[in-house]
């Protein structure tokens, strides 16, 4: 049993997915999240156990809708998808084969599926007879912070103009060729994770990673109907950001070194108080954005509130306040009850000035 298993306790580890990796990359400095994810800890359960249940969930209506749209696009060997690739994107695909990798001869273990995905992709890349194959339920592998995770993109299409494309199916609507910017951005970040994982796989197999296109095929419902439409989404920028963030991710080993050998988040043997202390002893970097992406966010926010941290006010406010870490420090420098350190001289002068004008104006 390794250290990460001890951390998690005697339960099956929770899988990383593209969403969690994308979220991790958004907040790379957070040791707490990195460690909990690496150990496969169920953050949702843990957060509820320590009295700060996650502030979000998914509506059954949204889940049904996403599943039915996914099924629609993939029905009949991805007939809809093929039509979209031909018509909407103007790609010359005569006919296509379809390979489902959701299990390998009845075995659906991750290891088996990944090996199969690898073999199929390698064969496709080596053969290159110009025919198109759609791989459904492929399973990729990626090393995140020294820890291997499996990833399942919607579909990988090979080959369109000689390259591999990641196809992402999302159920948010594209109305009059416009979609919600936040949702498109999230889809781009997630797809970038798949492209990155696929390129890593190619590199490991001695193939040219550039054969994986940075253009992701995004399939969404068109207008208010259930009819799919496709767009090419360039994720180069997200890829670059992801690569940079993943390389900066704190190595899990370094975090583990600082923890006692019997350290654990095991919900079965530890009281809520003990788990809370254990979680709290690993450094976090809270930002209000965590509230929509991390199950532990409310725990971390309560902690930040206890510390009077400027993180509570949002990243832009914190930056505007010269990066000062605590609210009492901001107000102390402003009302001169706290002497500034040499590097705080400039922000202290600004804060004193702001306080004087503010007090005058509301008087």
């Amino acid at each position: 049993m390794n250290r990460l298993d001890t951390l998690r306790g005697p339960v099956a580890p929770l899988d990383h997915n593209a969403r969690t990796i994308a979220a991790l990359a958004v907040n790379p400095g957070c040791d707490r999240r990195a460690l909990l994810d690496a150990a496969g800890v169920d953050k949702q359960k843990t957060a509820a156990y320590v009295g700060h249940p996650a502030p979000f969930g998914q509506s059954p209506f949204a889940i049904t809708r996403a599943a039915s749209f996914d099924a629609l696009v993939k029905a009949n060997g991805c007939a809809h998808l093929l039509r979209l690739l031909r018509e909407t994107l103007g790609l010359s695909i005569s006919e296509a084969a379809y390979a489902d990798i959701s299990d390998v001869g009845g075995n659906d273990s991750h290891q088996m599926r990944h090996t199969r995905t690898r073999a199929l992709l390698k064969r496709a890349a080596a053969g290159g007879d110009g025919s198109c194959t759609l791989f459904d339920h492929p399973l990729l592998k990626l090393t995140v912070a020294g820890h291997e995770v499996y990833l399942e993109p919607s579909i990988i299409a090979f080959q369109i103009e000689g390259r591999f494309h990641v196809v992402e199916i999302k159920s948010f609507a594209v109305v009059d060729d416009q979609a919600d910017a936040g949702q498109v951005a999230a889809a781009a970040r997630q797809s970038a994770v798949y492209v990155h994982a696929l390129r890593e796989l190619f590199a490991a197999e001695g193939l040219d990673p550039e054969r994986v296109s940075h253009d992701v095929v995004l399939v969404c419902p068109k207008d208010f109907a259930n009819h799919p439409t496709a767009t090419l989404l360039d994720v180069r920028q997200q890829l670059a950001a992801l690569r940079r963030q993943l390389s900066r991710l704190t190595r899990i080993d370094r975090i583990l070194e600082e923890l006692p050998a019997d350290f654990t988040f095991d919900l079965e043997t530890q009281s809520p108080d003990e788990v809370g202390k254990a979680v709290g002893s690993v450094g976090a970097r809270f930002a209000p954005e965590c509230l929509s992406s991390c199950e532990m966010a409310l725990f971390c926010r309560a902690e930040a509130r206890g510390d009077g941290s400027t993180d509570l006010l949002g990243r832009t406010a914190r930056d505007a306040l010269g990066g000062l870490e605590s609210i009492p420090a901001v107000l102390g420098l402003a009302d001169e009850s706290r002497p500034p350190s040499p590097e705080q001289l400039e922000i202290a002068e600004q804060l004193r000035y702001v306080r004087r004008l503010y007090t005058e104006a509301i008087a």
Binding site: L291, G308, T316, A317
Partner: protein
């Protein structure tokens, strides 16, 4: 976010109560605004689920779609919504005032105002407008005749909401954030319940604690358009199933009423809070614009104007963008000149300063560039303790006379020398009262309330090929009218 509003947030967190970031009210508040809280089915683009709507705090109208996946029920809902909204909107098209101008014209004396809880409500209003404005009362999928009319109005309101300073369709969380800094993040301020908890916490409770309590979806259900996932799974799903088996919508109605009533109360609470602030000087000027736009839209619809197309033409989009930018500039300037608290942000940034006039050279005459005869160009010297970051030549305006153009001539220590360029009458020397006097406390800022000049754009029919050539004007099509809504 500026250092001033961030400081106010820090102060709010410390004091346990929201702090003011405005001393006057910068939004127009109608005597009888219509509060509109729409809900949609999670996961769908624009499937209306319910709405609470009305102008009387004591008497909200609750509209529901007992099976949100049923297209006919959706259109029945929109027709019912039209029953509530159209009489309200069209009721303002009665009292007319005549505007004295070179060519006198008429405009309505007042205009409708719709208040939604958050930006999500504005976006959903836009989608509701988009999904109904092309419909027709005849043809293969006829709808009630009022539905496309409502669709056009909702489109109009959602469009107005993109113009800075317009009060036709207001997201309450934005209106509150203009006036109060809470001790939480701007992201969390998008939740009306927690934002209000910081602004007016119950007696004896800190804003932080009240906001925490307000996060409980059982106490303050989401203000929409999305409902809470737990509510969807534990209550709504069963209620919809009950409707399907029994045909009675009572259970769905009661479930949705429980989700909407708390937000309804919060909305009117927020209205009362904002009413408590005195109205800023230029609020009326901006409301006049809203009234004029309302007058134009009423006339356009009366002439059977076709619904706005799916996509704007190149010229129209360029004009719209230029207008949007220009009103932002005007609005920023007006707000700052109306409110010393808002002006602080510009003073801290070095773009504005306040000080005492210590010298006036009223007799100065020079030959301005491009002219042949000398004209009065007085110099005014102001002593300020603000950290001015303006270079000579910068054009400034003042709260004293928002039309008078001035420019920076020089800055020497805490002394700023300005040259006054116009608004001094036609005489050889400046008209009395047109210049500040020694001892006056004045505020000058690099903010132009006049807005920018709209760039010269070709007429629609002269659109160059680079922009797609002359656009074919939008004509309503059968496909648009019959578009699926599943």
């Amino acid at each position: 976010m500026s250092i001033m509003s961030s400081y106010a947030r820090a102060l709010a967190a410390q004091e346990g109560r929201a702090q003011p970031v405005a001393t006057v009210r910068h939004v127009h508040l109608s005597a009888a605004p219509m509060v509109f809280i729409p809900l949609r089915l999670a996961g769908e683009a624009a499937a209306p689920l319910a709405a609470m709507v009305g102008t009387d705090p004591e008497n909200p109208r609750l509209l529901v779609v007992p099976q949100p996946r049923n297209r006919d029920l959706r259109f029945a809902f929109m027709a019912e919504l039209a029953d509530v909204m159209l009489p309200y909107i069209e009721g303002f098209a009665e009292v007319v005032e005549t505007v004295e101008a070179k060519t006198p014209y008429e405009r309505y004396a007042d205009a409708p105002q719709i208040l939604v809880p958050s930006r999500g409500g504005v976006a959903f209003t836009k989608l509701l407008g988009r999904s109904t404005r092309f419909r027709r009362a005849d043809g293969p999928y006829p709808v009630h005749p009022t539905v496309p009319v409502l669709g056009q109005w909702l489109t109009f309101f959602a469009d107005r909401a993109e113009y800075a300073g317009s009060s036709a369709l207001v997201a309450m969380t934005d209106a509150l954030a203009l006036h109060f800094a809470t001790g939480q993040s701007p992201m969390e301020d998008a939740n009306l319940a927690t934002q209000l908890a910081w602004i007016s916490p119950p007696d004896g409770q800190s804003g932080a604690k009240a906001a925490l309590a307000a996060e409980d979806p059982l106490i303050s259900p989401p203000a929409g358009p999305d409902t809470h996932p737990d509510f969807d799974g534990q209550v709504l799903e069963h209620a919809i199933r009950a409707y399907e088996t029994s045909g009675s919508e009572a259970q769905v109605r009661e479930a949705l009423r429980s989700q909407l009533t708390p937000t309804w109360s919060l909305m009117w609470h927020a209205v009362r809070l904002l009413r408590g602030l005195p109205e800023a000087a230029t609020v009326d000027v901006r409301w006049v614009r809203d009234r004029e736009q309302f007058t134009r839209e009423t006339a356009r619809l009366a002439e059977g104007g076709s619904p706005r197309g799916r996509v704007d033409s190149a010229v129209r989009a360029a004009i719209r963008l230029a207008d949007l930018e220009s009103v932002v500039q005007t609005y920023e300037a007006q707000r700052a000149f109306d409110d010393p608290l808002v002006m602080i942000e510009h003073r801290v940034a070095g773009k504005a300063f306040t000080g005492e006039v210590v010298g006036v050279d009223a007799a100065r005459r020079i030959v301005p560039a491009g002219k042949t005869r000398p004209a009065p160009r007085p110099l005014v010297t102001i002593r300020t303790s603000d950290p001015v970051r303006l270079s000579p030549g910068r054009k400034l305006f003042s709260s004293r006379n928002r039309k008078q153009r001035t420019e920076v001539v020089g800055i020497d220590g805490d002394l700023v020398v300005l040259q006054i360029n116009d608004q001094m009458g036609r005489g050889a020397s400046p008209a009395p009262g047109s210049l500040p006097e020694v001892g006056d406390v004045v505020c000058y800022a690099e903010l132009d309330p006049g807005g920018g000049q709209r760039p010269r754009l070709p007429a629609g029919e002269d659109t160059p090929w680079t922009h797609g050539g002359p656009p074919t004007p939008y004509t309503p099509t059968d496909e648009d009218a019959e578009e699926a809504w599943s």
